[in-house]
Chain length 231, copies 2
DNA sequence: ATTTAATGGTGTAATTTCGACACCTTATAT
DNA sequence: ATATAAGGTGTCGAAATTACACCATTAAAT
């Protein structure tokens, strides 16, 4: 049985591609839709912008309502405006991304009923998503893959204290290629924005690695703008 | 006397930052507005997206109507969605840029009455623009400045046949720094996508320079993606 | 015919960066 | 004590980058 739904005119919406890194894998946040169209499908967290909020504010609000996550540093990356991208009417959507630390984050959980659930899903094995969300994801993934090379975004995905091996495996996951351990360490340390801590990794059944911290102040001092972080 | 104007609800618009290069200077296309608000102000070419056209199509149409230019390769670069950015209501605008050859282009001239005139203006000396168009311009300028380093966009701004000095002065104008002549030539030629022609510059009162052409095919063969074009 | 003015066009050497490559060390579990 | 698993480290050749200065060519002016 098909449900007949009202159509509407011009609407702005926001869709979010939220990246996280866990167990050596890059993941994104998906929701299970609880509304037509595409009820029960998996989708990117997204919803409609209100009249009296900026799109940046809307992005924060919508992500919170659908996942319970707050205060992420979201960044707009592309606007999708094909006429038929939404079956019910003209919806132009501004896509945002954010990078977050999965560990230490409480469980993600929708606050509204528009979504049944929210969860992390590896980027390597994504199902078909609602609307044009697969395309939105691909565009966003390409953006951060490139940005990884000239902006220090990796550190937003790692815990505050991390090992060089973790950092390297994050680069390898995003760029999808193996990097040389010695060259990677040499280069990363040469920038001078990694602060070596007096602490070591805990709870591993092998030699514990030194922990490092990203020193945002030093980074800002060294580079006004940006740099080539890898090869 | 103040004119009272109707307000409206959610509206999408497009604004265009069209770059050109002439007489060693980088320029953009401005229009003189013929409508409230900001009647008589200078502004970026821009207007409202129709219900039944994609934003990419709208960008092409609007640019044509306001400047008479057609078939440019326009690219979206950012969406501006502050609540108060338009005095009459909620207008979210998607900004596009394009790079074009000014020479050989017929004079730019609006086709509709929304604009009184359209003309090229050097980027170094821009007046205050209507709405948030100064901010839109700055964002766009930063984008192409970065893109110049890894994509062959310079050739869209130059005539089809150009000298190495012209190419260099374009890079200098966009990056706003002096480059070394010998190193610049060495590097550009080393890529292998510049085709040396059997022709020379004409009409100059000094030694004529060799002309070159950008070989798009070779470029595509050599680089699947992109590269660092300068230092 | 000669000179002047303006830009065209070219090479080398020192330095830095990149990339390939392998082994010993340390901590834990058994 | 031994096995296991990852941590951590240096060198050398190749390639890329940077700094740097002078002669050549053309047209215009004299």
């Amino acid at each position: 049985m098909e449900v007949k739904l009202p159509t509407f005119d011009s609407v702005f919406s926001i869709d979010c591609v939220i990246f996280g890194f866990e167990a050596g894998e890059l993941k994104i946040l998906l929701i299970e839709r609880n509304e037509e169209p595409f009820k029960d499908w998996l989708a990117l967290p997204g919803y409609i912008v209100e009249q009296d909020e900026s799109i940046d504010d809307a992005a924060e609000r919508i992500l919170y309502e659908l996942t319970g996550l707050r205060d992420l540093h979201m960044q707009q990356f592309h606007t999708f405006g094909e006429v038929k991208r939404h079956p019910q009417g003209r919806v132009i959507t501004v896509a945002y991304y954010a990078l977050i630390r999965i560990n230490g984050q409480k469980e993600v959980k929708p606050v509204t009923q528009y979504a049944k659930s929210a969860f992390w899903h590896p980027v390597n094995d994504l199902p078909k998503l609602a609307f044009d969300h697969s395309e939105i994801f691909n565009t966003g993934f390409n953006k951060i893959r490139r940005r990884l090379n000239y902006q220090p975004i990796a550190f937003e995905l790692l815990p505050e204290k991390f090992t060089l091996t973790q950092l390297q495996s994050l680069y390898e996951a995003v760029l999808n290629k193996k990097l040389d351990k010695r060259n990677f360490r040499k280069k990363m340390l040469s920038y001078g924005f990694l602060k070596e801590l007096d602490e070591k990794q805990k709870g591993v059944s092998y030699r514990a690695a030194k922990l490092y911290k990203f020193d945002r102040r030093k980074y800002a001092k060294i580079f006004q703008n940006e740099l080539n972080l890898v090869q």
